[in-house]
């Protein structure tokens, strides 16, 4: 019985070590691309700060990887999720969207914020600082509503 347990643990270790060698994507870019939303509109500093703290990990070309993301299979899952989120909305490429798509996205952003759906609750478990306060919500909401109505 003890032997079985030992072999199981060794087997598990081998798998865990093995998957660390799976190649990964790194969602990081040097500098800020021209298409970043801050160059599309005059985004006030306080708005930018909230976006960077609460949204950029998932919706930009620059993810701040936490320590545990160096470990598989966490990283594999993160890569997949980041691809999906960026397809939905990517603040680093906002400038390349058509006017129509920009407006759709701004409409979606205010909806998600007003209904407290973003950032995802599962993310907030590990990222206390990304939680939107009432003031943060108002800052984002006012900003996006204003440029949307221009």
């Amino acid at each position: 019985m003890k032997k079985i347990l030992k072999r199981t643990l060794v087997g598990l270790l081998v798998v865990l070590v093995g998957i660390q060698f799976i190649p990964t994507d790194t969602n990081q870019q040097d500098g800020i691309p021209e298409t970043d939303i801050r160059y599309v509109y005059g985004v006030p500093e306080k708005v930018l700060k909230v976006l960077e703290t609460s949204c950029y990990d998932c919706h930009s070309n620059n993810t701040n990887y936490p320590w545990y993301s160096k470990v598989q299979p966490v990283r594999l899952l993160m890569d997949k999720h980041i691809r999906e989120r960026k397809k939905e909305l990517n603040f680093s490429e906002f400038g390349s969207y058509s006017e129509r798509r920009k407006r759709n996205k701004m409409r979606a952003i205010t909806e998600q914020i007003e209904k407290s759906k973003m950032p995802l609750p599962s993310y907030l478990l590990m990222h206390e600082e990304a939680k939107l306060s009432k003031t943060d919500k108002e800052i984002l909401d006012n900003f996006f509503n204003d440029i949307r109505k221009e």
Partner: protein, 210 residues
Amino acid sequence: MNIKRISVFSLAVSGSLFLASCGNSSNTENHNDMSHEHHEGMEHDHGSHQDSESNERSVSSNSGELKGDLTSIMSSYFSLNESLVKDNASSAAKSSENLVEALKVFKAEGLTEEAQNEVSEIQESAIENAEHIAANSDNIEHQREHLVSLSIDIKDLIAIIGTTQKLYEDYCPMANNNEGAIWISQTKEINNPYMGSNMPTCGKVKRVIE
């Protein structure tokens, strides 16, 4: 040996699945308390900017001649709306799948380059919106959010391509979190896809499209 291997793998796999499940759990939360949140949280000036959005774009108006055949796009769009009027999210998703297909194959004819670019952008946007509706067969609230943008796409598409059918642009000020939203209908009477059975007749005809 085999059994052990299997158990090791299943451990690793179930671990991964556990981690994978954390990403997408939020879709259906917050349904019931959203109206409260809205009232308590944000102060908007609803009166002044009601539907400026849907008017802001000057779409090159159709000059009488049809620039393409919108029949299958419109019929999927209408059946999508009928499903939402009945609060039926899964049949809305099915209609929206058809709508995605119809949008993908649509080709406009005889347009200026500028108008053709506009049509391509509308198609791209409408496809994205319709795909969301198709993918959210369990989340009618999210389907209705995307219907707001989709209906603007459809309206703008009709303005460029033209229609032989008499259509109505309807407007409900309470839809879309009290921001107001439009939709296109074949009938004069109001059947509101945003409010569903709560308030099926909220809204009015804003414009007749002929």
